[in-house]
Subunit: 131 residues, 2 copies
DNA sequence: TACAGTGTACTACGACTCATAGTACAGTTA
DNA sequence: TAACTGTACTATGAGTCGTAGTACACTGTA
């Protein structure tokens, strides 16, 4: 289910957060779908349950999942509220990264193409398109 | 010259790398311009010289500055070589971040606008002028 | 009711990173 | 020579990361 790099400088729980976020955003994991339990996933990945739980807690704080004691952890419905604070953070990071990409020689057209390609795969807020 | 958050979870030297990279990309710091010396900047920011040097070393590895023993550290000329490896890394990060932004409700038009606005302020690779 | 599964909380430990402090060496410039 | 520059190294304290173990509260089912 996952590819984690144990010896990466990036903490395991952060890698987990990234991966899961990706699966949620691309709707591989759908709304209210149950995630593997902390202990199950820990066993699958041969990783300590505490590390998994740290990742789940972070995802819950960020609003991507919700957990119910005794039942399990589930994917949150996609952006019911705009969450402007979070959006602003992402936007600022985006500006940094876009600047760097352009500085390194990426053209505006290339960037436009990337965005258009992503538009299809990302399950956005409104979803006012008919698939 | 800088605003650093000492108590941030993000290391000081990484904040420094980000800030300086930003100044170089936006050409506030121009090609071959000399950066403050390790000790001077350390004194200005009331930070240990070792921390500054760590940031400078990182910037040198990433190709944004070059250092000459006994003389100082200077801004590298903008992307003479494409550096496809680095570009690929940035592109992958960009895809992640763009996906997240769109998931949070940012529209394609908004993204296009951000890019167009940046186009002016970023000193890109070719700059279609011949120096 | 029991029991197995779920999330959650806490302590303790070793390994690692980060920032500081101090010292030292090599090169450049006036 | 003197004052500046980058660079390298050791040592220390604070903090993070991952692991290990234990414990508690809740849910669903036999």
């Amino acid at each position: 289910m996952f590819e984690l790099d144990i010896r990466s400088r990036k903490p395991i729980y952060e890698q987990l957060v990234e991966r899961l976020k990706e699966l949620i955003i691309t709707e591989v994991l759908k709304s209210d779908e149950q995630l593997p339990s902390v202990r199950t996933l820990a066993q699958q990945l041969t990783i300590n349950p505490n590390t998994i739980q740290k990742a789940y807690r972070e995802l819950e704080i960020q609003g991507y999942i919700y957990s119910i004691k005794g039942k399990g952890s589930f994917v949150s419905p996609a952006s019911p509220k705009p969450d402007t604070e979070k959006l602003l953070k992402v936007k600022n990071e985006l500006i940094k990264l876009l600047s760097e990409a352009m500085y390194l020689g990426m053209t505006v057209d290339e960037l436009f193409k990337i965005i258009k390609d992503l538009e299809a795969s990302v399950g956005g807020g409104m979803e006012n398109d008919q698939n």
